[in-house]
Amino acid sequence: MATFIAEPPVARSTRAVDPATNVNNRMETRNLAVTFSRVIRSEWVKFRSLQSNWITMLSAVVTMIGIGALSTAFLSGTIGSGGDGFGDTTDPTTTSLGGMMLAQIIVGIVGVLAITSEFANGMIRSTFAAVPKRLPVLWAKVVVVAGVTFAIMLPATFASFFIGQAFMGSDGASLSDTGVLRAVIESAGYLTAIALLGLGLGSILRRAAGAIGTVFALLLIAPGLLELVLPASFDNVLRYLPSNASLSFTSVGSTEALLSPAVGALVVLGWVAGLVGVAAVLLKRRDA
């Protein structure tokens, strides 16, 4: 008996329902052009559309405020086995901003990931195909990372200050005291600078692990380690490490061991400008 095999049902014409025909609606193209403000907008869309950025920023805020609150509460005897009170060496403003030591690492990581994530998943090639001059992308990332970090960390430093002073009661400082307002605002400025330092390192090294490790080593390990291994005559040089330089303008009542606030700020800016500058040269020169 012959077997009759029916033809499988085939769509008459796949072309008729082909969505590709949409392409026929050619768009208005007169106004198309790459401008710096458009690249900034693009980088802002990229930043805000990644949930991980906001989680990391939130953890920086929690770290900043949490550590400041804990250390002031402990020192003032609010928690723990009764505080030592405040000696002459402990400044209430600096203590309340103590969370900065860890928060700087976290915002540094935000800066690193703003560019290494694009290298890791190949997005950088889509980005550079859209903006082949490349440098506007780096400058736009600087604008967005700096803007977001400062906008978030400024309220966080103020919150740390006020919560800390509340724990310390009569021992606390007031915003109107000499150098206090400046120290609080410039702490947020320093955190912003470190986010950009991370961006620069991330752009140079292209890989998150190496760049985050470098941020960590430069800010946390180098100051202590180098002080141990280098002779005392180098202490003058060590003041120029970014985290040491920052102490001059993020704390109140400078000592001989620190740079002056203005020089300290310039040194930190110098680190950022140097690293972002090297990043710019390499970004332009290297294959993507």
Binding site: A20, V23, N31, V34, S42, M123, S126, A129, A130, A288
Partner: protein
């Protein structure tokens, strides 16, 4: 139009692309063909300005990509299917790309429709299948309504339906007068899609010809002859300029260089013939003949 002028790319001692020159014209699909490691992807990256040539110049519509006011309107490229952040939604990915060139949001929704991803536009791209990521990449390439479309290995990872879809899409784009340049290491795929071919091997240009010309290049006037007495027929046919090979079939011999006279001679010698089939070499054979000397790693006969 894409112009590659005398481009060389060296990585240390290794020459990935060697004095390569060719032009890709609008209106047809041009296939960029060569074995793996022939320098196709490197060349495409240089056209896109992602890698810079050691010497020479690659331009799109006469200028390097960085010299164009709106690069996304000049060329849309999908060089790899991974060029997307997995944590970002399809819509946000396209929005961020569109923003750079001032492409309106309306166009983002339009290309999402074109590639059929509208319903998943708000989902994280990391949750997409390879085929969906390919479609998202294509949407990104089409955003700027580009004159030139570049695609590296267009059918990799696509299911059969997706392959037909991308083939038709690229054909439509070419029919609209755009320049369409697609690379592949599979000649069979190019045979179904491309009209023109740029063939490279070891970074050098091997051929710049139409698919039809490639097909013809392998026609060697050989005929497969099915006969119950192949040895007798062989003796009858052998002569100047005639070569005869055996085939997998014991009764079939392959006669080259004697196109018309086989039947006549067999008739005179009273040898029965069951079939007389002019051989149509496949595009694969033609391609392999062409690239035989330029495959980077060849198995060595034991």
């Amino acid at each position: 139009m894409i112009t590659v002028e005398n481009v060389t790319k060296r990585y240390g001692d290794k020459v990935a692309v060697d004095s390569l020159s060719f032009t890709v014209h609008p209106g047809v699909i041009t296939g960029f063909l060569g074995p793996n490691g022939a320098g196709k992807s490197t060349t495409m990256r240089m056209i896109m300005g992602l890698d810079s040539p050691t010497t020479g110049r690659a331009t799109v519509n006469g200028k390097s990509l960085a010299e164009h006011r709106a690069p996304m309107h000049e060329v849309g490229a999908l060089l790899e299917d991974r060029a997307i952040h997995p944590g970002r939604s399809a819509y946000d990915h396209l929005s961020a790309m569109a923003a750079t060139n001032g492409i309106p949001d309306r166009r983002v929704r339009e290309v999402l429709d074109t590639v059929g991803l509208t319903s998943v536009a708000r989902k994280r791209a990391g949750a997409f299948s390879l085929g969906m990521r390919q479609r998202l990449g294509i949407a990104g390439a089409l955003l700027g309504d580009p004159d030139t479309v570049i695609r590296d290995e267009p059918v990799n990872g696509l299911d059969p339906e997706g392959i037909v879809w991308i083939r038709n899409l690229l054909k439509d784009l070419a029919a609209q007068g755009r320049t369409v340049f697609v690379s592949s290491h599979l000649i069979s795929e190019m045979g179904l899609m491309a009209e023109h071919l740029i063939v490279v091997g070891r970074g050098k240009l091997i051929a710049d010809m139409t698919v039809e010309q490639l097909r013809q290049s392998a026609v060697d006037n050989s005929v497969d002859v099915d006969t119950p007495d192949p040895s007798h027929l062989t003796r009858v046919l052998l002569g100047d300029g005639v070569s005869i090979d055996t085939t997998d079939e014991p009764n079939v011999i392959r006669v080259t260089g004697l196109p018309e006279a086989i039947g006549d001679r067999a008739f005179e010698a009273r040898i029965p013939l069951h079939a007389l089939v002019p051989r149509q070499p496949s595009l694969e054979e033609a391609f392999m003949t062409l690239t035989h000397d330029s495959v980077e790693y060849q198995p060595v006969a034991a």
